[in-house]
Symmetry: D2
């Protein structure tokens, strides 16, 4: 793995590295951690990389690594830069024969997303998008329960992703994470919408197996001087007639990372909270509430196969993130060995396009005073 | 107290009686428990009432009680009938000099509500509407915290009221509670909207101290053969610029009575759940989460004054309901003694009008494909 | 009902009155609320009692009420005084033909308890002891599940009753509740042991259906200047070979009223918390956790029959307390009507004796450095 | 790192490897994964190790690695075998100049533990014992709060470690984890006592900063045919006069990994649950409950410094385990660089001796019918 972005002090770069390393399948071999060569080298050294594998730009990394012999050179790049810097390195990596893992939202614009989808298809290379929350064992259990019809026909969905860290103008204090997220040039047309709304959208479609048909979005800009949304409330209509709400925010003061979903069918319902990810609460007609736990009783293989440790030993954010890398690496090793794999289970370029469509539909709806807007 | 409706087998009549009796201030002295005189007498006898105070109609009760000497005759009526039968007895009671407690929604139509408001004003009599959830100590604490500015400017509100008991067609099984609720003639133009949506609306305005300015409502009718909504998703805009969502449902399978609210300000936020009413979760900039409990540490008088028992001894649905009756009775006794009272704290005819406006605005918005609709 | 003790400002007297009134079966008709006649009258008036039914002593009340005609005079006394004043009025009431409800622990001494058991038997009158926590629907569900063998053979029990209100020397501040509880003359040989330890003991035996065979008690006296225990830790051995722990405290700083129990069998296990009484958590071999709720799915009749309101509408401390009164009143009305009743379900004089045996065994064990001591 | 034990299918070997790799400081370079050379090689290959670094015995590994040049050879061994196989490789590794990480309990017998303490001291090498639960950020917060006096004088402690996986005779089904744990030859004189009781003991002393002075232990053997305890209930007396209880079990049916602790002082109290490790619940005189979260508001540096990701992103079992490795690796790197480090923060050989003393005292107490037994 060669990393693009994620120099010293980066939050998400560190997460990607830890997640990639947990299962012992992936080794960081090089990086363009910064567009400043000195900083890149300093970051790489702190990660025990040799100096000659620390590059001053992603272009240099891709070109030089390509020259290295197979088995030595990196197999794939991991892109952990701000949104505007997702597409260029992804494009170049694919064009030079490297597989790609990228952070979300996939690109700066919808056009880039559509172009990237084409690039991936043409290249025949693998592409994973780190919608990490789908890596949780109980999210997989939830998806499997819906898919097998346990809940019956889905009627109602509630999803929320609430954070409070932008309640005050932290972007004016020099906080790096904040400053690019409130800047349309680096973040795109969505603020919280792109940063966390896309996670909510992805989770809804992943668990329910249903597409959002149309939405009505009322975006909010509460932070003084901001131009991008830091809050949003949406009505959802799913392709099958189910209805729902979505709420996301980065000004929900005091919330840490409250991604939560409830799905109601006509036979059962389920509820999952990211902050307490080791419980899946389910309700049933005429039966008491049942609570599932990772590696606990009565789980489907889809959940059991991604649990690492016995029931009662909590898995968290990094483990779920690691599952994206693990499933990608498993697929990649099969490909490298000339094998095929039944159903690779990680978010792909299609999820990325979907996320960008969601952003664009939401912004359009909001401009039209929350008019219903189709998602495509 | 004389009760109208609430014969044997009634859920809400029994609740009103228990709630009225807890604090020892109110005595049930008569009732028109059924429009069938025999049934009314049987119901009254089971409640240890003398036969001659059990009436076959509310008209009879009001007329006959009026003939009884003061101190013997009922002081007020308690109306616990289905929605269509709220206005007629309330009107007649007021016109004959009786005070009124009524279940919600206040009337069958908005016109009735406006008429009733006028009747109450003209009569000079007291009128309480049993939006019982506002009786919880921690709901009062929440309201006080917002009112005193502890949370700063309110930016975001989430409210939900989720039940699952109409997930299947129980109205076809002869279940009484269900059959009138799905019938527009007895329920009005709102189904779940009127039954529980109005509670959610009332709670939002009570706690936040803010009016809902406009809403966008997407109502659902999921139960086969139903004509009234059994589900709804709304976007809210408050008078001060805050935004929010509301979701209510009676087809949220497995949910029992999940009324919950979250209010986010720019200094703090709070969260309260009816099913676990003895916790008020609050978040603060730079401080850990604080959880308040009834009669616990650091509460405002508004909350302390309605807690009946020491901290850690859970109060529930009936106690909160009782607080409406208690505060009404306290006001009534003051009035009967020719005294005045500073700020009577129970929902009034104005809350009832507000609830009917909410129902009408929601139905109108829904008809217009969830277009923004003003609430008045 | 005639009340003994419970004048204005009393916590537990008020609880008894509210609990007795909820179900509309019991009317407070007289009281000896204080040994000071004026105070007793003042208290009674505040409760809307006529002055001539407010007595200056329990002796006066019992004698004068006995003179009143049947149907007018009280049917039973409710004793809500400190421990030392339980036995004398109970004895006199029984001897004059009145039934008795008494607060716990039943008496000041074990000898009194044994004498009272004899008195009750000889009198043929009813006697209820307000171990109120056994009134919760889910406690009855728990008891029924064990009794029906759902959990298999019981192997392990954990019970705790933790409060923190005596963490500081509140008894020196004039706090009434505290001052008599730390005084051996009024409280007996047990402090927290008698006050709350007996509730824990009663709950263990009620739910498990098993007697405590022997115990090893390590009592603590942490409050400066106290002579009675304010904390205790016990090992338990049950008659069937099950083992367990009990912990109670009134110096567990910050705990409000944390009575909780866990019972483990070889087929299933259960967990119940008084502070969240509307959940019964159960575990099963090879099945997910199941959570029962009052009036929820799959309950036994034992639980359903004492739930007052629909699932999701929380019942609390007063309702459980009321169930003791309701079941006592149901039994009493049967007796008054010359009927019999299958299995009266409320704590009796035998539970009271058991509680005193528990206190005495614990104190003896503690004196012998926590040596195993039989419970009889 | 060279691993001893932990071949394919091992639970704890896999945990150690994942934990060691998360922070990118430690590389697995060799292993004696099995006493069967073929199996060891197969296990090593699955971990991407070269065949010549996969050894058929720990003796072979230690001797051969010692021959390799510095920088190539392993720096330390990680011992993840059953209890009886902890001491021999630890001893040999130390004697050949390797540092040691070992699973717990430290040795098979107390004598071995004392000998090992001497060996470590004489060798000057580092020794870490994986009492992994002390690696949680909020356990460090808890310890810091007690140490700084926030809770005042500690009066009461409750600790429990409840599992249910030995509720049935799984050791007879060929389950590897179970079979050695119920076998005194491989497990030592403690069953659940050694396996999980030692974790509870370590957590009590780590958080409270207090030594257990004496204990009274009532051990249970519930599984048919077992000779070692599978359950235990203890009374504790701490060196400062605090009292407490401990309960551990592997027959607490349905419990997954319920390690929990409550510590009560005279100024505050705290509560932590391993199954929900990202909450530290604290109580205060006159203040509401406060809940701390990793990387959340108002934490001490002791907790902040071991949190890896932002608040709201749950960390779990592996991350806490990893913190033991990380702190050990940090210390080791300092030593290798000839530097010193202020206060290395990981469990050492002294914790290991303490654990064995706890096992021996408990077994002795149990043999004497739970007589008080000093812990040394």
């Amino acid at each position: 793995m060669g990393m693009i972005g994620g120099g010293t002090g980066s939050f998400i770069g560190d997460v990607h590295r830890k997640a990639a390393s947990i299962d012992g399948m992936i080794e960081l071999v090089c990086g363009a951690f910064s567009s400043n060569a000195e900083k890149s080298i300093a970051s790489g050294k702190a990660l025990y990389l040799p100096e000659d594998r620390c590059y001053g730009s992603f272009e240099e990394m891709i070109l030089k690594e390509k020259e290295l012999p197979e088995g030595v050179r990196m197999d794939f790049v991991s892109i952990v830069t701000p949104n505007y810097m997702h597409f260029p390195p992804a494009k170049m990596a694919l064009e030079h024969g490297f597989h790609v893992v990228s952070d979300k939202p996939m690109t700066l614009t919808l056009d880039e997303a559509i172009a990237l989808e084409q690039l991936v298809e043409n290249s025949g290379k693998l592409f994973a998008l780190t919608h990490n929350y789908t890596g949780h064992p109980l999210v997989k259990q939830a998806r499997a329960m819906v898919a097998k019809g346990d809940l019956g026909n889905i009627r109602k969905i509630q999803v929320q992703y609430l954070q409070g860290w932008l309640s005050t103008a932290v972007e004016k204090t020099g906080q790096k994470q904040a400053s690019w997220r409130v800047d349309p040039k680096r973040s795109g047309i969505g603020g919280a919408l792109g940063d966390i709304g896309t996670h909510a959208e992805n989770l809804v479609e992943y668990i329910s197996g249903l597409k959002i048909k149309e939405l009505a979005a009322d975006l909010g800009v509460f932070g003084e001087g901001r131009t991008l949304d830091d809050d949003g409330n949406l009505l959802l209509r799913m392709e099958n007639g189910a209805k729902g709400t979505m709420s996301f925010s980065q000004i929900a003061l005091g919330e840490e990372n409250d991604l939560a979903i409830r799905v109601y069918g006509d036979k059962g319902s389920l509820e999952w909270h990211q902050e307490n990810p080791n419980q899946l609460i389910t309700h049933w007609l005429d039966k008491p509430v049942k609570i599932f736990t990772p590696n606990g009783n009565d789980l489907y293989d889809e959940a059991l196969s991604v649990s690492r440790i016995p029931a009662g030993h909590p898995e968290g954010y990094l483990e779920a993130f690691a599952t994206i890398y693990k499933n990608f690496a498993t697929h990649l090793m099969a490909v490298l060995n000339g094998e095929t794999i039944a159903k690779p289970d990680y978010p792909t370029v299609k999820d990325g396009v979907r996320g960008m469509q969601f952003i664009y539909a939401s912004v359009e709806s909001d401009k039209n005073n929350a008019a219903w807007t189709k998602l495509n």
